[in-house]
């Protein structure tokens, strides 16, 4: 036996052993971090834990927007074998998708590592998918938004997109508060990409903050129902209604027509425009009470000051101001009751220049209401160049400037609260806001008294009167601006009202845009909507009746009852 063979084997073994040790040191020490990382990358995954979005409630705690946990079914198209027909057809059956279509979608996205197959999948379906135990198919937890009140509050609450981000309304405006912060956890996955173990919770998801709105969903529903039926029966283009609590400035109801179903599919055609906030209209005669206020403030006018309107028209420079009929000599309050252009124009010319503008400005016209609802318009309102007699008169009956229905409601709250201007709010208030006195108490009460006559027999809005409650208000009819100035065929019918007169609780503004049926005036179209909504609303709010059914005046019987309560 030769020794060289012995040494040859020895050297071979030694070299092999050395090579192995070097490799072990290389892998275990030098390259350790890199290899660990690569290994983790293939089996350890960080997953997002979605945070639940804050709920939205109405003022009484009724849910308006609810999030519910659901799942998204996703696939890794790089690794999932879409040509395996048994797996594919089972998946298609559970997800209720066409097998051929599913195969095409997966194959077309083969270069991607992640593909949603179906979003917002229920627990039952999720369990069914899990039962299939398919590789490279993952179930991603997520949340879906439901809107129990549906269409009636759609414009206020708005909606979210499929990824739970606010798109419209409150959902958009208060996105920061509503959105939570997702958490993370680390999981171990097997070769097929299925989680086999949770390794570590990084951060717990922080849920979004709940919001409580000032909206009363009962009043909201009534307003929605009445506005919808009125807009349909008048074949109007659109309509808006806003109701505000005079005591707190909270918005109790806000509806628009046409509306949409926030639970339905989202596309470009759905009417998401919140017209109460985003659209501006010429307020027309609804401004006349503010002109009366300007007159009262001079101290030279009272509600029974006589104004001569005969012969029912007069000329200012080249413009004829005209009433439908000759009203002869009327008082200031009759000028409001009958909505006389001539009387209001004559009063305005007698007032100091700019006084009507200032009254409107003090009541909040020309400023953002600032509730935070998205897309708020400010309207056109300026005193620049308004020095001619015609332009002053035009402003005194609500032309030549524009307001949003919400601005008009805000201005009427100032009158209804007897001269206190208070900020409006779409969120429920825990305590009354700071208000600012802008009108004299007596003068504001006198203007409201004049407006009460509007809803009485002989007024322009007798249809605004309701049982059991005294109401005040003012109609308005504006023409729509067409391509060649005012269009005489197209009108906007407005009504702004206050109820009950003895102790105002609600202010409501109703706007009906381009009613097609017969009469298009505020008194015929908008006032009846006010009446129907106010009647239900005051009862639901538990407001004390201040008049009896038949009598226009406060009935003695109700009086004694009211007195009894006060004692």
């Amino acid at each position: 036996m030769s020794t060289w063979r012995h040494y040859l084997f020895l050297v071979c073994f030694a070299t092999t052993a050395l090579a192995l040790s070097v490799r072990v040191v290389y892998l275990g020490v030098t390259e350790r971090d890199f290899l660990q990382e690569e290994g983790d990358r293939r089996s350890v995954y960080k997953e997002d834990l979605p945070a639940m979005r804050g709920m939205i409630y109405d003022r009484n705690g009724e849910a308006l927007a609810v999030s519910t946990p659901v799942f998204a079914v996703a696939v890794n198209p790089k690794l999932f074998d879409a040509t395996n027909q048994t797996e594919l057809s089972e998946l298609a059956r559970v997800l209720e998708l066409g097998a051929g279509e599913l195969e095409r979608t997966i194959l077309n996205n083969r270069q991607r590592g992640f593909l949603y197959l179906r979003r917002h999948v229920s627990w039952e379906r999720m369990d069914a998918v899990r039962q299939l135990k398919l590789g490279h198919v993952s179930l991603v937890p997520e949340y879906r938004r439901y809107y129990p009140a549906g269409e009636s509050v759609a414009h206020v609450v708005g909606m979210t997109n499929i990824d739970d981000l606010g798109l419209e309304g409150i959902e958009l405006a208060f996105e920061e508060q509503l959105r939570g912060e997702p958490g993370t956890k680390t999981v171990l996955r097997d070769r097929k990409g299925q989680a086999i173990d949770d390794l570590e919770y990084g951060r717990a998801p922080r849920f979004g903050t709940d919001l409580q709105l000032s909206i009363d969903s009962r009043l909201q529903y009534i307003a929605y129902r009445e506005l919808k039926s009125a807009v349909q029966s008048h074949s109007a283009k659109s309509g808006s209604l806003i109701m505000v609590d005079v005591k707190t400035g909270e918005i109790l109801a806000l509806v628009n027509q046409p509306s949409f179903n926030p639970n339905g599919p989202i596309n470009q055609r759905i009417p998401t425009r919140n017209r109460v906030v985003t659209d501006t209209y010429e307020p027309g005669s609804t401004i006349k009470p503010f002109t009366a206020m300007a007159a009262l403030e001079t101290g030279r006018y009272g509600s029974d000051s006589k104004i001569e309107t005969s012969p029912g028209y007069f000329w200012i420079d080249n413009k004829m101001i005209q009433d439908p009929v000759n009203l002869n000599t009327i008082s200031l309050s009759q000028a409001i009751q009958k909505s006389s252009q001539v009387a209001i124009a004559k009063v305005t010319l007698d007032l100091p220049e700019g006084s009507v503008f200032q009254v409107l400005q003090r009541s909040g016209i020309g400023e953002y209401v600032g509730t935070g609802l998205p897309g708020e318009a400010i309207g056109r309102f300026s005193n620049v160049g308004r020095t001619s007699r015609v332009s002053r008169v035009v402003m005194s009956y609500g032309y030549g400037f524009s307001v949003t229905p919400m601005q008009l409601a805000s201005a009427y709250v100032t009158l209804a609260s007897h001269g206190n201007r208070l900020p409006l709010s779409i969120l429920k208030r825990t305590r009354p806001p700071e208000s600012e006195r802008v009108f004299d108490i007596e003068a504001a009460a006198e203007v409201v008294a004049m407006m009460e006559q509007v809803t009485e027999r002989g007024g322009t809005a007798a249809k605004a009167s309701i049982d059991h409650y005294r109401v005040a208000g003012k109609t308005g009819t504006a023409r729509v601006l067409g391509q060649n100035g005012y269009n005489d065929e197209r009108h906007v019918a407005l009504f702004a009202g206050i109820a009950p007169v003895s102790d105002p609780r609600i202010v409501m503004v109703v706007v009906v845009n381009e009613p097609q049926s017969g009469s298009a005036s505020g008194g015929q179209v908008a006032a009846p909507i006010f009446a129907r909504v106010a009647e239900h609303s005051l009862r639901l709010l538990g407001v004390m009746p201040d008049k009896n059914r038949s009598g226009v005046d406060e009935s003695p019987r109700a009086n004694t009852l009211l007195a009894k309560r006060d004692r």
């Binding site: 009724e62 609810v66 519910t68 946990p69 627990w123 009534i222 009896n548 009852l561 009211l562």
Partner: protein
């Protein structure tokens, strides 16, 4: 003597590590189950909220009041109880 003490210490700490790991695991499982339960309860909560708004909505209340209970609005107010 010292060696024996060290041995006991090593064994004890080894057992406590195992125990800790076991506890971590069971807590992990508990947390996971609680989270699943929370999700299921949240899902049920929102379902119940939807149901409540259907059954206790103004619309349903009006129908029940006027048709089933034969209630009507008073024509004339005789007394108001505040």
């Amino acid at each position: 003597m010292a060696l024996a003490a060290l041995l006991v210490g090593v064994i004890a700490s080894g057992i406590s590590v195992v125990k800790g790991a076991q506890e971590l695991r069971s807590l992990h499982t508990a947390l996971d189950q609680s989270q699943k339960a929370q999700d299921r309860l949240l899902a049920e909560h929102s379902r119940l909220l939807l149901e409540r708004s259907t059954f206790a909505g103004l619309q349903t209340v009006e129908v029940v009041a006027t048709q089933e209970l034969q209630m009507a609005f008073p024509a004339e107010i005789k007394e108001v109880v505040p």
